[in-house]
Symmetry: D2
Subunit: 415 residues, 4 copies
């Protein structure tokens, strides 16, 4: 006794790979399909439409297949309204709650599609029937630990529509569409020039640039170049950790990073004390802004952030020394601060940090452009896999990347 | 006008590399030395002695040189008592406070050497003149954020003696002395057998084995083998994160890891919901132990920990989903819990996690034996560099390492 | 003045990604398309058909677009016969010669499609009008340095049809179709079990298994397990280098690999002489078979190859010591020997060698199943990128992989 | 019944680590030692002296220990003359022949120490009693395949003295002494500046700079910068392969590398034909110099080599397409050509190639300064392990390294 359902897809479903993904999912999961209708877009600008009847041996299999099709943007023929259930208590979602993708999403409520605000992966969707500005219904994401008793949570995918990103018509510039991998075999300087162009264009258009930076930016000697970009107004927010800030501050206070003089490369020794002394100095001052004000810190990335009112989030980690007073030690609180940054961002530069990049990436919708730079190809691959539709991945040395980027950006600025 | 000081070294200073390190440090930092006395140990079991007069152009250089010599165990001729200063307020150390190494350390107080308890890197040393059991003086480490106003903190290195580890006489077994690097060119199964022997021997001698495990242990299919080791009593404590526990619990509840059936390898798809549903189930139950009790979780590493009273610490991170109720979200609180684990450990197995391994490694003295296993050579190198004197680093696949280890351990047990 | 051409595609063109690739290529290269006809396969077993009119601003652009479409299996409407030109001299192809893909290919001659024999990437196609068994026309590949004056060489792609691989209907087993990447997040032992199943099945069906092995197989202690597989008849040919053979022979003659005892792990020292002594011993004997016959070599992979008449190719390299008398030092001659091996192979296991795997991979059609195993993810990615349609990539430790594989294979055999 | 021998060491045996290595070797191998005499150098410029009596349980163990001590520069008390045996036939060494290290070496003949010419690892030493210019004895290395029947070959280490490199007194500049590892945590641009200074200084002193380059130099867009360095006279010889030359020539002929426009990054597609067409063009012309002369090749690294009479060796490999007529396809012949280059070199830059770097490294004495640059840390580690006493290893992106290096070098030149 087989079971079946009919779904519809529309859009640039061939060149975005959605059609392929749907056909493949049915076959992989052991189902069968019949194409009931297929209207191919005649030109590259026309959208296509497909109606697909899916058959499976049992309900469980059918549900698994429909789940895959749903994620690729298929919608049930004659979709029902979304199913909502109240959360039984704080932080507890109803059983079978809908877990979000990072793609633009809509829920069907009262026979109309409502966009879900603040889309982000692995969240619940909460609907407020009269939560909108004019008492309209409103839907938005909530992470599990923010769920409050009584929240109306979406619990089935039938009334939910996902819009996976499609290849932009017209040039997509340097950002490859869903490339999902990085080639080590690309000309480095030309690629950096493209990133510089994006950065300049975003700045000129009043967009928000979020830089996510790891301690290697400082160790590798790129701190000064990043500080220049902050000073010149190309960075609108910084997301980093206690280690990044400490190394940057050490460079200002002692002229060293991990005890080594960044210019002369002298004294690259273990057991140096500058690192921990820097932390104790800043604790003594009461914080980074206070240390800048007191004249203890006179240059560097953190200095420029303070001087130029660029907001920063320093998220704590279990490997931190100290930590600095500015570091948010609670992971949930830090995630909330990062989430605010991520929602504002139009362009995200992830520089040599896996931990902070994943944390930021977790909060980004798939539509935000990102640039991931790391010397470890596994890190770049992992970040691109998390699913920005428009992303550049670059396996390079952060110590030459940032100075070259800054040169290209500021050259371009001078023109 | 040059300045000079005389220091003494004793022990197996040639084959431990301490002599070489001292000579090199003087030359690297631009000083000069004169060997005033050198009594070489005649046989391999005899210790050597060296008295060295160091000359430098100025006080700053001399201090830098003496700092390096100090770290290699050199002591000033006629060492003074340690200098102590009260902390001006909570979390604030006196200027110029002494920052610890991870080697056994003594402070000179009242003309006697007192061992520093709980030695750990990058801490302050606090001395309580009458803090010992019989009103004796007592010295111990404190991390910066634990400093309390009025604590007597060591502020100069002249009255402090470090004892860097030396090559053990007799065999040092598989643990290479200060090898500081790993060779990829070693026979894998023979190396795993040596780790198994260490594990069995530690267990038989009543030692404490701490396992630090990352999520890859579960993804790679090694969860069942680790669960066996817990069940059979070879694991005394577990240090992990929210991700490890979630994936392990998902495997028990849904039979999958990241949505893929671990046995059949079916459905390796993105967008699966098991991961986040697992978290919501455990939140609903109130915690892992409760989920075990309720019969929701019936196998796996966390299950065996609960059933066999093996204590675990789940340290939070900014990339966590959920998190599970058992996860300690505050980084400082989590570090304190990890510190307790680290102090008890006689043998530490670090399995496929950089973040948690560094966090644990930060709390370990250099004398604790460690085994670092990861598929990424950079991770293994970084962990070994942190300075256990007796360490095995192995670049291998955790998914074959743990099952092979468990087989060897349990075979050996059966004999 | 735009130019245009019409092409046709047929087959499982949606789920194999060919349609997507064609649409994308036109857009990327600045052309425009019109879908003149599209018959979608109604069920997963039905083939689809698409007729596409492509327009571009100029001939150069159109040619670039058609080249991409050609590579994805598109054929000109009413295709002409292939254009042939005689090679002007030995090793010199006519200008504009057609360079092959690694997919099954046909040339149109005398208004009929003729399959190209021995398809392999980056070759020329030579057509002999009466070269077939019955005086039929015959087409086959030739590498550039094998071209002879007067060979009739294909010089345009209009009369050539490429058949890119398609996703097999029915299960494709462990071999992901065109996955083009590897996930580190797969259960290791389950994956190895699937490779074992393939190996057993290939052997049972009388297929030919080619093992490509690097020196790390021996260093990592996996030599004995590979020798077992040879002895038990699961390896039909071996492709390796001078280093692999030397290390394997050293293990037999001295019990060491790079001077280290493979069992006890003793004496892992530089400067050992066993390696070079092994080579000099085998030179003295006259070759590997002679050394086996003389009783100098009594175990190991090379020993089993000699004893079980498993043919091997040892290809030379500029980093070789010696080399052994069996090593083919000329690269072109070695490639020819490898080419013979590659053409026979039904299943290729590439074990921990980039150089030899690339050399073998260069000679393989896209239809040969391959398994690529290496601890370096970049190596596995690079090998999978070279384009086998059915490939397993596995990032693991060869030192545990081969013994586990041998156990699974021989278990399965015992059943 | 134990056996014993007495050896002597002299030089900077403490800070070079030789004493430590000797003590450790005796203990590791199960022997025992007695220091019969030890005169420590009083100042950093004074040499030390040690006489060591080594005892072992049996002759085999003693021989192993003495082998290790020998490699670290220990010499038997009252050393005998070297033992010489004639090679029984071409390419066949006498049993027990001495296999060289890469350190400066002397043989004792007729009661005098004679330096061994052209020292290189894993060779035999041949002595010609009257082979010197004035009928003096002469000793030199020969690789195994160059041995001729009757050559007098050294067969025991007692009459041979190795001089392992010692830490230079005075600054050793950027080249760390025997650092044997690379730190990823160094400022990139400062390190590149040091390499630039070395390059300029070597050129100014009339030294010979050998560049070893892989294809990634071209893919990454660094070809033009390397071409500049050749044109400006900073490169005296080039060691590369068929792939490097082909990609460089493709860039000149088609403006692409692997089919992608290096400036605009357009058309990064598989299946491009430029690569193989480039090879066929150069074959047609008869070689690279002919292609330059004919005006087919008008820029790039190979062009500048031809125009500026910079000799190059293109060594063949089994993964080559073509190959180009200039490529030496026989591995032994190619090694001989590389050997000639290596012997002349004062400074070797190894740029993004493991295969060619190892081949060159195999021919270098430990005294030649080398710079190893690769994005893969395992490659850099492996190259440094091969034992140059003065080496810089840098994990960076070759695509930004070479342009930055060229800028620094030519800036410095302009001053």
């Amino acid at each position: 006794m087989s079971v079946e359902r009919t779904v519809e897809l529309e859009g640039h479903i061939i060149d975005s790979g959605r059609m392929q993904a749907c056909f493949t999912a049915v076959m992989d999961l052991g189902g069968s399909f019949e194409v009931e209708a297929f209207d191919v877009g005649k030109h590259e600008t026309d959208e296509s439409y497909c109606r697909l009847r899916v058959t499976a041996a049992d309900d469980v299999t059918l549900r698994e297949i429909l789940h895959e099709l749903h994620q690729n943007g298929a919608v049930l023929e004659d979709p029902p309204n979304v199913t909502l259930e109240p959360a039984p208590e704080d932080r507890v979602v109803p059983s079978g709650f809908y877990s979000t993708t990072n793609h633009p999403t809509e829920v069907r409520y009262d026979d109309a599609w409502i966009p879900v605000e603040h889309i982000e992966m692995d969240c619940a969707i909460v609907l407020e029937p009269e939560g909108g500005p004019d008492g309209d219904p409103r839907a938005y994401t909530k992470v599990l630990n923010a769920i409050e008793s009584g929240d109306l949570v979406a619990t089935d995918e039938s009334g939910i529509r996902v819009r996976p990103p499609e290849r932009p018509r017209g040039s997509d510039g340097p950002f490859g569409f869903m490339q999902g991998g990085i080639s080590a075999e690309r000309p480095s300087e030309s690629t950096i020039r493209q990133v510089a162009d994006e950065l300049v264009e975003t700045a000129e258009n009043g967009g928000t640039v979020l830089v996510v930076a790891g301690p290697a930016v400082i160790h590798s000697g790129a701190g000064e170049a990043l500080a220049r970009l902050v000073r010149e107004g190309y960075v609108d927010a910084l997301s980093a950790g206690n280690g990044f800030a400490t190394h940057d501050l050490e460079r200002s206070i002692y002229g060293t990073s991990l005890g080594m003089d960044v210019e002369t490369l002298e004294h690259p020794r273990k057991g140096h004390k500058h690192h921990i002394w820097t932390i104790s100095e800043v604790i003594r001052e009461g914080g980074i802004a206070e240390a800048v004000e007191a004249g203890t810190v006179t240059e560097g990335v953190m200095y420029e952030c303070v001087e130029n009112d660029v907001p920063y989030v320093l998220a704590g980690s279990i490997r931190d020394d100290g930590p600095l007073p500015d570091t948010i030690t609670d992971a949930v609180e830090a995630q909330n601060a990062i989430r605010e940054q991520a929602r504002e961002a139009d362009l995200v530069l992830m520089l040599a940090t896996l931990l902070h990049s994943v944390a930021v990436g977790n909060c980004l919708p798939s539509t935000t452009r990102t640039v991931c730079v790391d010397i470890n190809p596994a890190t770049v691959t992992q970040l691109l896999d998390r699913g920005s539709a428009q992303a550049i991945g670059m396996v390079t040395d952060i110590g030459t990347f940032v100075p070259t980027l800054a040169d290209f950006v500021l050259e371009s600025d001078a023109e």
